[in-house]
């Protein structure tokens, strides 16, 4: 999608830069851009800023965050987590300490598929975990992520911990291969 928009910006089609900025504002912020905002974004593009930087800026603005928070409805999330936990009152909660490149994603996907009406927090990172309301964290039947051993202390008593290890050579090679194809980790970024 981004590549498509970028090709439009390079003048390869009928979309103008103004139209692309307007589409981003309407899609992400649900409004038309105000004249100063439009001018600033256009100036950034004129100066050679890549389009993904503009999208990133809008997606990380205070306005976008506040809109997401209102739309996300944290009380409803807590209610859902609590209700799911009360449906399985006698089950131990599972914390999967997922070490990168050990095959944990397959395991988490397998567990998620089995979870049924249980509330699961998977693929979360430490930045997410420390920001989650305790009721959500403590109601989850499954918490999985690259969260390390310390994360156990945030989970309810009785939570069982699981982890998978891999032969170190294979893991290092896999991690290296992963970094090469992950845009967020590439050496160039």
């Amino acid at each position: 999608m981004l590549a498509f928009l970028q090709s439009r910006l390079r003048g390869e089609s009928k979309f103008t830069r103004e139209e692309v900025i307007e589409a981003l504002y309407r899609g992400l912020l649900d409004r038309d851009p105000e004249p100063p905002g439009l001018a600033a974004q256009l100036a950034a593009l004129e100066a050679g800023a890549p389009l993904h930087q503009v999208v990133y800026g809008i997606g990380h603005s205070r306005e976008y965050f506040e809109m997401w928070l209102r739309g996300g409805d944290p009380p409803a999330l807590a209610t859902e987590a609590w209700r799911a936990a009360t449906r399985h009152p006698n089950e131990a909660h599972i914390y999967f300490l997922h070490i990168m490149k050990t095959g944990g994603t397959a395991l988490v996907e397998g567990l998620s598929a089995l979870a049924g009406d249980r509330f699961c927090l998977t693929q979360i990172f430490l930045d997410h975990m420390v920001a989650l309301p305790p009721v959500v964290l403590e109601s989850a039947a499954l918490v999985a992520g690259h969260l390390g051993i310390e994360a156990r202390e945030f989970l309810p008593a009785g939570t069982v911990t699981a982890t998978a290890l891999r032969d170190p050579l294979g893991r290092v090679l896999s991690h290296y291969a992963h970094i090469l194809v992950d845009p967020a980790l590439r050496p160039e970024t």
Binding site: A92, L97, A106, L107, D127, I149, T163, R166, R186
Partner: protein, 343 residues
């Protein structure tokens, strides 16, 4: 000393350097990447970043700013995670070994990557699932490196830098083997107490798959999530396809020359395609074409326009159904690869 190398392993070693600007040597040796390549598994078991203090006494951005710039990620979208993954451990290797082995001991369920189904089976029992389905294939690097293609010197350096991780892995293997034995014993008892259990259930169980690496590779590597034998739904689909084909043949024989029903034989392949078992679909196609020819002879329309149009329609639709079944089978085993963050 010279080491034999295959073209593929050479490519995996060298193409990365050319294409992305990061060689395996750099990944292993540079300060920037070393936290990820040196005893990373041990780090996950011992590293503490003071989570209770986050957003109380310090912000993740502050924590990241305190990191050595040489190891700080250029795009810190998850600063706390980056601090955990890359921050200094601050303990000696001996202490790391003791602490990580103790931490591993404190973990209730420990598995190893090559026997992940055993761990999956153990965790599934917590949720009351005795025989979980096969694990999906997920997040497998598309540029997998063959360890045998890595120069011996570099391989030894990696292992040396991961001596603690190796000790952890050996301990994890012992525990995974014990868990597999326990599960195998439990399943044997189940089989004895329920001899009429469906073979498909036991064939797809995690323990058997895990104890048969060849079978596991076949299932995960080539066939992906597809079961080695047709599922119950697939079997019924194939039975229905054959049954309806037989009905069409029977009707045509009964109605003789009053009605030519050759075209209707497409129903078999069309139903079979939804099972996504292309060999079975192809077998039904062959049977349908042979039956179409026999019916044409029986109906006395052999080598007429009616016969040819019917057979051409049957052949085209049937072959399309076989191709569609093969395409559906391929798309069924494909897994999403794209992820924003490593996992």
């Amino acid at each position: 000393m010279c080491f034999p190398t295959t073209p593929i392993s050479w490519w995996t070693r060298h193409s990365a350097q050319r294409l992305k600007g990061l060689s395996l040597e750099e990944f292993v040796h540079s300060r920037r990447w070393r936290p990820l390549s040196e005893n990373f598994q041990a780090r996950n078991l011992v590293h503490r970043v003071g989570l209770y203090g986050v957003w109380r006494t310090q912000s993740p951005e502050q924590m990241l700013a305190e990191l050595d710039p040489a190891i700080r990620p250029a795009d810190p979208r998850l600063p706390l995670q980056a601090s955990f993954d890359r921050g200094p451990l601050g303990i000696s290797e001996a202490d790391l070994r003791d602490a990580s082995l103790a931490a591993l001991d404190s973990i209730e369920y420990v598995g190893v990557s090559e026997r992940l189904a055993v761990l999956f089976s153990s965790l599934s029992r917590i949720w009351g699932v005795e025989n979980p389905p096969p694990l999906p294939v997920a997040n497998v690097s598309i540029h997998r490196l063959d360890p045998s293609g890595v120069p011996r010197r570099l391989r030894e350096e990696i292992l040396e830098a991961n001596a603690v991780a190796l000790a952890l892995y050996e301990q994890a293997r012992v525990r995974a083997d014990a868990a597999a034995s326990t599960q195998a014993g439990r399943r044997a008892v189940q089989r004895q107490s329920a001899p009429a259990a469906a073979p498909a259930t036991t064939a797809s169980s995690g323990v058997e798959r895990a104890s048969d690496p060849g079978g596991r590779n076949r299932s995960r590597g080539r066939a992906g999530t597809a079961a080695p034998w047709p599922s119950r739904l697939d079997r019924w689909g194939l039975v229905l396809a054959v049954a309806l084909s037989v009905v069409v043949v029977g009707l045509d024989l009964i109605l003789s020359q009053q009605f030519i029903l050759t075209h209707l034989l497409v129903i078999g392949p069309c139903i079979a395609l939804f099972t996504t078992r292309w060999p079975a679909t192809a077998a039904i196609v062959v049977a349908a074409v042979i039956a179409g020819n026999l019916l044409a002879a029986s109906d006395g329309v052999w080598d007429t326009f009616t016969d040819l149009s019917g057979l051409i329609t049957l052949t085209v639709v049937s072959m399309t159904a076989t191709a569609a079944a093969a395409a559906m089978a391929r798309s069924r085993v494909r897994q999403p690869q794209a992820r924003l963050y490593p996992s």
